[in-house]
């Protein structure tokens, strides 16, 4: 935790998205956020995320489909492999794409229907190197029946489902008779389990080791889930 930017330091974000309206909207959300977040607009120029001010940004918001219907998983992998903290912001809503992004090491996957109430917390979480699970991703994880998926507990699946359905952690907490903090814990545990079975990446190994340090999950539990 000590190496992470302090909470009061200004978070900088670079957005790679060819739609001017999206970049402008995200800029407005970032400037209205408390504390505000600084946004660098790279447009559709991926190079701006690698050089200049974009290269130093804490978080990269990446539009997966700069070329329509050709999701650029390769670029996502390169960003993650060079240690960048990436939020995928996509108009894609299919589960397979969402899970693939998580597997490649994106800290968050948001669909463009999900607005500032999810994007701003996602940016803050990503800046700390932590994952953020928006409702759409939560639904995809809950319905994931791929052979290599980690084994989730019944409670974890319930929380994922409820979060997807209600889009409100207060409601999830009320429905399942738990606190909002516990809701977050269950969701975080699911992400750790996914990070543990997925492709190795620096952001993900950080995630797993931090979860072990914090006692979010035990080594025995992790070994059990990876089948």
């Amino acid at each position: 935790m000590a190496a992470e930017p302090p909470a009061d330091e200004l978070i900088t974000v670079v957005i790679v998205d060819d739609h001017a309206a999206i970049a402008a909207g995200v800029r407005a959300w970032c400037s209205q956020a408390v504390p505000p977040i600084e946004l660098i607009d790279a447009g559709d120029r991926l190079a701006d995320a690698w050089t200049g001010p974009g290269a130093a940004a804490d978080v990269v918001i990446f539009d997966l489909e700069l070329v329509p219907r050709r999701p650029d998983f390769g670029e996502l992998r390169r960003l993650v492999d060079s240690g960048r903290r990436v939020i995928v912001y996509s108009q894609h809503t299919d589960d397979a794409t969402a899970i693939k992004c998580v597997d490649l090491g994106a800290l968050a996957y948001l669909t463009k229907r999900e607005g500032p109430e999810h994007l701003v917390p996602a940016i803050r979480a990503a800046a700390r190197g932590e994952p953020y699970t928006a409702p759409s991703l939560s639904g995809a994880l809950a319905c994931d029946d791929a052979p290599g998926r980690p084994r989730l507990s019944q409670r974890e699946t319930e929380v994922l489902r409820a979060w997807f359905v209600s889009s409100s952690k207060d409601l999830v907490a009320a429905k399942l008779n738990i606190t909002v903090k516990t809701v977050d814990t269950y969701i975080a545990r699911v992400r750790v389990k996914y990070a543990n079975v997925g492709r190795a990446a620096r952001t993900k190994s950080e995630l797993v080791s931090r979860a072990l340090d914090d006692g979010l999950i035990t080594l025995a539990e992790l070994n059990e889930t990876s089948l």
């Binding site: 229907r113 759409s136 639904g139 319905c143 029946d145 997807f164 207060d170 409601l171 009320a174």
Partner: protein
Amino acid sequence: MGDAAEEVTRTQLRRGLRIATSLVAMATVFGLGGSNILRHLEEYDSPLTQWAAFAALAAVLGGEALLIVRGRSWNRLRGPAIAVVLAASALSYVTLPDGRTSTGPDWIFGAANWAGLVVLLDRPLRSVALFLLAHELTALLNLLLLDDPSLPDMARFCTGSVTVIGFPLCVAVVASILSGLSARAAAAREEVERVRVSEAVAAESHRRRQQRFAELSVTTVPLLEGLADGSLRPEDPAVQRRCAIEAARMRRLFAEADTVANPLLHELRHCIDVADRKGVVVELDARGQWPEPPVAVRRDLTEAVLVALATAASHARVTVMGGAGLVSVSVVADCGEIDVPKPATPGVRVEALHNDDTVWMEAQWQPNRRLTS
């Protein structure tokens, strides 16, 4: 049942005729033809050729016997079989001693006609007529070209032709009448079937219309009557809510008849459309795959959404999550206190959670449980 019995009778009749004709043909070829060859064996220039023609006819009749046993028709082999018969006829005539046409040694004159008939028995009458004509012409050409016919020769030939053409033709006429009868019977039966189907369709659509009307009459009709006689005031929010619910129910009812890949989502979209027009922002999101629920279950699943959307003030989130063992439809909306609809089908459960102004209703259906209970 009656149709089936008629069909069996006709099949048996046709099969009987075919067997009888084959037996006649075999008796004629093997009995008469064979004995004639044997009796006049020394008169032939080349007895081997006569035996070859005899073998050809025997092969065709053997084929027929095999097909009868297997209950099959000649189909694609019909053409080659007729060619074999006509070739045998031509072969026999070419090597027949001069002046012997339509006499004892001319065994093939009265044999090849029957062999051809068995092959063509289930074809239209004109096929048989054409074949008999070809056979007759072979004999006639032989008589005219290779012999020098006298008047008695011609007379003998004509007399012989009466039996050679006449008898097989009679059998062919009977067969053709029989098949004509069955074709007409089949056409009549199809017509009866068509009329029955259209009557059943009309009755079914009438029944469905009545059923739809009955479904609406419980809820929609009293509302309309109340509006008409002034007992319900349109400016009353409760009446407006009832109207919105009924409008959505009618939309759902109409959508139920559509043929679409995913009826549950299709009907949900129609329910949502009514709320959309009121200015409520509705998100619809679906995850997973699910088996298609029956109409009654779909109504139970969508009812909670429908009621919540009709009452929602500004926004709602509708989600469907499915798997093989559970289909769940949820709605979260800012609609304050509302009545939770009671499901009509046994496998469906509806739960509601009120949290301040927000209502979260979830309708779940477990396909397997319904089957076991």
